[in-house]
Amino acid sequence: MGKSSLHVLKGLDVEVKRGEFISIMGASGSGKSTLLNILGLLDTHDEGSYYLNNQKIENLNEKKAAILRNKFLGFIFQSFNLITYKNALENVALPLYYQGMKRADRNKKALQYLDKVGLKGWAHHLPNELSGGQKQRVAVARALVGDPKVILADEPTGALDSETSAGVMKLLREINNEGMTLIVITHEEDIAEMSDRIIRLKDGVIVSDERVEKLKVKS
């Protein structure tokens, strides 16, 4: 927030292919959140180049960034970031509102996605009437509903107990199996191991980038 600048990421070269399920790991301060924010167009990079869907991201003003986020990106946050006065259905439908979809259409589509995450029955509940796991499922549905190219998840299980975490990760896995590209940030080894590829960051540089053995995923 301050005016002093800090070099957080120092030269990363990563390519993420369509349909990949990647986790980015690192201790706090390693730059993983900054990377995710840049990928998510929530923050801007100073140097280097970033291609999203083969489109170079540069000279973005807030309006263009907003449109790109709306079209290509879905977000899942550690703290869910649901709008408290909107019910589950309305929260899920919000990205569609900003796509300019008609109300009836977007409610129908939002309900489909709520069904997909197993919360059809909770459509008209407010976030504070849902458990943490349910809130995160709503957030997953919201990330998916706009048909993005990539879903970015920042510590999606950070606020959940291990059982619920496993459920959410299983959901993400299912989504990936349907072809969605997923990038998850986490500092929990067992969460990272549920993905296909782990990129480890330390002090703003990549220390390792390796595939996860399939055996472990299945276990």
């Binding site: 998510g40 929530l42 807030e62 309006k63 907003a66 709306n70 977000f75 900003y98 008609k102 919201r142």
Partner: protein
Amino acid sequence: MFDLDRWREIFQAISKNKLRTVLTGFTIAFAILLFTLLFGIGNGLKNTFAKEFAGVAQNAIYVWGGKTSKAYKGLQQGRRIQLKNDDYIFLVNEFSDDIQYITARVNKYLQAVYNNEKDRYRIRAGNPDMQFIENLIVDRGRFLSRFDIKRSAKVVVIGRLVEIDLFGNRSAIDKYISLDGFNYKVVGVFSDVGGDDEERFIYMPITTSQSIYGNNDFIDEIDLTYNPKMNNAEALSFGKKIQRKLKVKHDVALRDQNGIGMYNMAEASASVGAVMFGLTIGILIIGLGTLIAGIIGISNIMVFVVKERTKELGIRKALGATPKSIVAMIIQETLLITTIAGYSGLLAGTGLLRLIKPTLEEYYIVNPSVSNSLVIGATITLIIAGLIAGYLPAKRAARIKPIEALNAA
């Protein structure tokens, strides 16, 4: 373009965040309510003042004979000065250029009788000019005429309330009433903005009064209005000039304050003018003060409201809301709340003012009211203030990076 979807979004934000909505609305409504009440009461005070001095012409001068308080030219002190018809003629001749209306006057207090109704009334006997000096409005019939004076006609013009007292709902015109045993024909009925007291008088020709009740040419006072083109200072010195001339004529010492009495409305006019000016300024300050308090209030609330929503705005931005849509949303919400609240405040204010009007009038606050255009103007001012106060932080919130907004508490 009317965008139903956007309005639905706004209605939801408003209705689901009641505290915020109520706070914002209350500020505006209360400011307008106070503005209307204070301004209305202020105007009422002003009306009271204006009314109290509306009974007679603002440029009137009254002179009367008193008792000397100083011995002068071998004459004793304590001598009574009796004005007569020739004093009236003297003033008419002497000051014809400076005088607008003038009348000699005799005051009486007589028993009036019509059928079984009777009461005592104050009588003013004078000439036709008296109508203009006393600001009388002749409702029906006519006022005294030159011809009445000339032939000492036994006619009277009675106040609206005299007519009601004696005649009930019937018209008094062309009826005869008796004043201490002498019958007079009622030729006119008048009303007077000066109020009730002024409408319980009976006017008759001075010549009639002099011949019937005294058989002399005595007069009690001379009333006149000066040329309205005179400014206040000229009017004051004109009054003194008349008084001095009469003192000389009646051998009263010039320094004697009591021999010839004089009252000049210009003295009151000056102080009335000052009080009215003071009241106007006071009302303006009250009105402006309320408005400024309202503007500060709504600005504070808007800053707070936008700050409170920073996170929500961040979420919306992450989901694809453009900065423009964020600003538009806040502006539209503010506009809706403030317009409705402003209008309710306006209705409540004017309604309350009407409700307490009878009570206020017991305390001599006449017709407390505010012009519609003024209240609407005040409401629009507050709405615009709210919009500006909402726009600036909304613009800032729309510009900050979504990640910063999301990190906000």
